[in-house]
């Protein structure tokens, strides 16, 4: 092995890589600070003291155990949807359809979760997760098929399928697959009465509370934090391996960057597109499972929406990287919790939270592009110096 190491005469790490790494870390932090600075303008305009508002935001978010747990639980579905969007982004596909894919995934999971009485949890739960992934992939199959065979842009088709999925699920929930045991409730006009049969206990995901208790942290029982957080983090690491350490990941990035060159090099661009998008859809199918199997225990028409769209922002802010996505998901969890805090304690309207969120996305995206260009210019200079 050692002899092989010596057979690498060409330097593998670019010079000045430490400075570049420092820049890539400090960039997002500076971007967030800059966004907060700009949001201060809005705060001052409504007569609030930015220092007090931000102070409360941090104190409320990090000063209480239930807030921290809330942030982690809020981040869980966002990690999944961030990964789903990022995988598609890597192959240069814009999956706006995570929204619909996770709805369909949750539907399949709910169906399987309510069926199969008597299965042990270690079979039933994985089966339910597989069902969710299958549902998401199934809903992703249509747009990618249209794209590859007919040239229909996936942005259009996925947006339309988002709406289709809601209508289809509402029909199934209210019709053929309605929980018949809820006689009466559904007829008094309450939408929440329209739902599917509850998930069986064997398919519910255990909470993380016990684990934290073992190390002396007592998470309040009213916050739901479950094992899907761990699954999400593992999946993010899996995505990293897939993208950077496998031949398929290489093909995926090649097709994403330059399909014409990839084709000329002998790659089957369309096959790569289809596979990557199905993976994206399968991950998307898991987005809702944390809420479904860990919190609600049933699927109804009020099942949370919007994780798919936030996932786009998460992938963007996280620069499609595993660690970036996890951090970005936590950032969005923090913003949501902090937003709640300042609303109540500082009497700042909810819109402040949206302004801050929007500014942070903008600043990070612009900031990372600036860093990227700078790094590229540095590399160009270095290679020019080597080429004599």
């Amino acid at each position: 092995m050692k002899a092989q190491r010596k057979a690498k005469p060409v330097v593998l790490q670019p010079r000045g890589s430490r400075r570049i790494a420092l820049l890539e870390v400090s960039g997002p932090i500076l971007s967030v600070l800059f966004a907060m600075l700009m949001a201060s303008v809005a705060l001052i305009m409504i007569g609030k003291n930015p220092f007090a508002v931000y102070g409360t935001m941090f104190a409320y978010s990090f000063g209480r155990l239930d807030s921290v747990a809330y942030i982690l639980s809020k981040a869980t579905p966002l990690i999944f949807s961030g990964i789903a969007v990022a995988v598609a982004f890597r192959v240069n596909l814009f999956n706006i359809g995570v929204e619909g894919q996770y709805a369909v995934g949750a539907f399949f999971a709910s169906w399987v979760g309510a069926s199969f009485h008597g299965l042990p949890p270690y079979i039933h739960l994985p089966l339910v997760i597989l069902a969710g992934a299958f549902g998401g992939a199934l809903w992703a199959l249509v747009p990618i098929w249209l794209r590859v065979k007919r040239g229909v842009h996936e942005v259009i088709s996925t947006i339309m399928l988002n709406h289709t999925s809601y209508l289809l699920l509402h029909y199934l929930m209210a019709g053929p697959l309605k929980d018949k045991t809820l006689v009466g409730l559904g007829t008094v006009g309450s939408a929440s009465g329209v739902r599917m049969s509850p998930i069986l206990d064997s398919a519910r995901v255990p909470r993380l509370h016990g684990l934290f208790e073992a190390i002396g942290i007592n998470i309040p029982a009213y916050v739901s934090l479950n094992w899907f957080l761990v699954v999400g983090i593992v999946l993010a690491f899996g995505m990293y391996l897939l993208i950077w350490k496998t031949p398929f990941g290489m093909q995926l990035r090649a097709v994403g960057h330059n399909p014409k060159a990839a084709e000329a090099a002998g790659l089957r661009s369309n096959a790569v597109l289809v596979r990557a998008f199905l993976i994206s859809g399968a991950v998307a199918g898991l987005v809702g499972l944390s809420d479904l199997l860990g919190y609600f225990g049933y699927l109804d028409v009020d099942f949370p929406k919007g994780y798919g769209f936030t996932g786009i922002a998460v992938a963007l802010v996280g620069k499609n990287g595993a660690l970036g996505i996890i951090l970005a998901a936590l950032l969005f969890g923090f913003l949501s919790r902090g937003g709640m805090g300042i609303q109540v304690l500082e009497r700042v309207p909810m819109e402040t939270y949206f302004i801050l969120q929007g500014l942070i996305i903008l600043c990070i995206v612009i900031g990372s592009e600036m860093v990227r260009r700078f790094v590229r210019a540095q590399q160009k200079k270095e290679e020019a110096a080597a080429d004599v």
Binding site: Q4, A7, K8, P9, V10, V11, L12, Q13, P14, R15, K245, T246, P247, F248, M250, Q251, R253, A254, H257, N258, K260, A261, A262, E263, A264, A265, G266, L267, R268, R376, A377, Q379, K380, K381, E382, E383, A384, A385, A386, D387, V388
Partner: protein, 518 residues
């Protein structure tokens, strides 16, 4: 002492663009009535320097002295008013205007505010005759050849009273006899007292036509020499900064059997037929060169062979096996190496690293991966060796391909395509935009592959390249191979006739293969 006589003096000119110094303290003299060549490799700063003289850029530092007086041109109009005109590499002509209209456009002779077309046409015809430029002043520019269009450009600057005429790579778009005509015109202009500066990187023509030659390298003047007192080798060395071997090594190989047969292939593109009944064969141990003016189907031919463009009728056989309309991955698996003409769009995935670009297409081979695992040790070992073998100069194989120079990028492609010693190589414009060193390197690699028995199809718009490398030459015009020559019987002039469709193997209908800008 010569300095006093200089019509144009550049003193310490420096021009910077973001990230690069295009010209660094450039000083040179142009004597009146001489033909002065500015030579250098791509990116040496030739065009930038002359664009400052012609008023298109302003120098950051230094002085331009014209006829003994320091001048500052704010735009090309001021330069032309002073008597300096430039003919650009890409023509700036209005296609559906006549020659006369193009020449007078922007400087129309008017009598009491009215344009007099007849007088103007006569005047322009007279002017052209005076300088020995053969042109029909009433012809539309879209109907005339590229060589004639260039004459219109020259006439444009003469009409505006230029005494110093700058031509930027004038022969790049011309076939051999057109270039010959151009040189004749330049000599005529010189006889009539005009001064000519021409930018080029083709050493043979520079030595033939110019009086003095100034060599630029990386934005600096390396020296000015008299054409009569310098050799091609010496000039190349000045350009590149190290001795260059011009002698390509080729051993005597008896060609084997036909390896690639293209038989009566027809293909369409952009709604019209591009390849017409195209037939040729490449045998093992030979380089078959396809010469032709660009845009006569070369791109489409390469795509058709590689399965990147559907073939309408006809057959493509590789070692007797039908590969017509086979998808690219399958064509590739049969051992076809492909050097695409467009390095950036087809050849490389620019944002990806050098090592990734070197193995892409083989990433699933046993050498580089096992199941879902990339074998990085094995990959890095191969890539490092390949970088050394193909003389790619870089700090790290982790650098994105887009940070490399054109020459190094092309060598990365060679490293990828020559892996496993392919039996067939399709090289499309393989040396375009490369410096002399890299060009010679690439050609030698193609010859080496041929010596080892590979069949090589070389598609090139550079006639000199085809003549120096190929064993047999087919001339493509209007999507059809017009004629075939062996290496011994090919001469530039004859090839030129077929390239422009003046002579053809059969009644090839169609217009000039030239291109026009707006």
């Amino acid at each position: 002492m010569e300095k006093a006589a200089a019509v144009l003096e550049l003193r310490g000119i420096t021009k910077r663009f973001p990230g690069i110094v295009a010209n660094n303290q450039v000083s040179l003299d142009i004597e009146p009535g001489e033909i002065h060549a500015i030579v250098g490799e791509n990116g040496a700063g030739k065009s930038t320097l002359m664009k400052m003289v012609a008023g298109l850029y302003a120098p950051d530092e230094g002085q331009i002295v014209y006829r003994g007086r320091p001048v500052i041109f704010r735009g090309p109009r001021q330069a032309i008013a002073a008597g300096i005109g430039m003919v650009h590499q890409h023509f700036m002509l209005v296609a559906n205007f006549t020659v006369t209209e193009n020449v007078i456009l922007g400087a129309e002779p008017a009598r009491r505010g009215l344009l007099d077309p007849k007088t103007a046409a006569n005047q322009i015809a007279e002017l052209a005759r005076g300088y020995g430029l053969k042109l029909d002043s009433k012809a539309r520019v879209e109907d005339i050849s590229v060589g004639e269009q260039q004459r219109v450009e020259i006439l444009k600057v003469l009409y505006r009273g230029a005494d110093l005429i700058i031509l930027d790579e004038p022969t790049a778009v011309l076939v051999p006899q057109e270039a010959e005509d151009l040189f004749e015109h330049l000599r005529t202009l010189k006889k009539q007292g005009k001064t000519v500066v021409f930018i080029s990187h083709k050493l043979d023509e520079v030595l033939r036509v110019s009086d003095r030659i100034t060599v630029l390298r990386r934005g600096r003047v390396i020296g000015t020499v008299r054409a009569a007192e310098v050799t091609r080798q010496k000039l190349a060395e000045m350009m590149v900064g190290r001795p260059i071997l011009f002698d390509l090594k080729r051993s005597d190989v008896t060609p084997g059997e036909a390896h690639l047969c293209v038989e009566s292939v027809t293909a369409r593109g952009g709604g019209r037929t591009i390849l017409r009944d195209l037939t040729f064969r490449v045998r093992s141990g030979e380089i078959y060169g396809i010469a032709g003016v660009e845009g006569n189907g070369q791109t489409e031919l390469a795509e058709a062979i590689m399965g990147l463009r559907p073939v309408g009728s006809g057959k493509i056989l590789l070692r007797g096996e039908d590969i017509t309309n086979l998808p690219t991955p399958k064509v590739r698996r049969r051992g076809l190496a492909f050097i695409p003409e467009d390095r950036h769009r087809r050849g490389l995935i620019l944002p990806m690293t050098v090592w990734e670009n070197t193995i892409i297409g083989s990433e699933t081979s046993r050498e580089f991966s096992r199941g879902p695992r990339l074998l990085f040790d094995s990959i890095y070992r191969f890539v490092n060796e390949a970088m050394a073998r193909f003389d790619v100069r870089l700090t790290t194989i982790m650098a994105p391909a887009q940070t490399l120079s054109g020459g190094n990028q092309q060598k990365v492609i060679l490293a990828r395509e020559f892996r496993g010693d392919p039996k067939f190589i399709l090289a499309s414009q393989p040396t375009r935009g490369l410096d002399i060193g890299a060009t010679e390197f690439v050609r030698q690699q193609l010859l080496n592959a041929r010596d080892q028995g590979a069949a090589v199809l070389l598609i090139s718009a550079d006639l000199e390249e085809v003549l120096s490398v190929a064993d047999r030459i087919g001339v493509i015009y209007n999507g059809h191979i017009q004629a075939e020559f062996s290496r011994e019987e090919a001469d530039p002039k004859t090839l030129g006739f077929y390239m422009t469709g003046v002579r053809s193997g059969e009644s090839g209908a169609g217009k000039e293969g030239g291109s026009l800008t707006a």
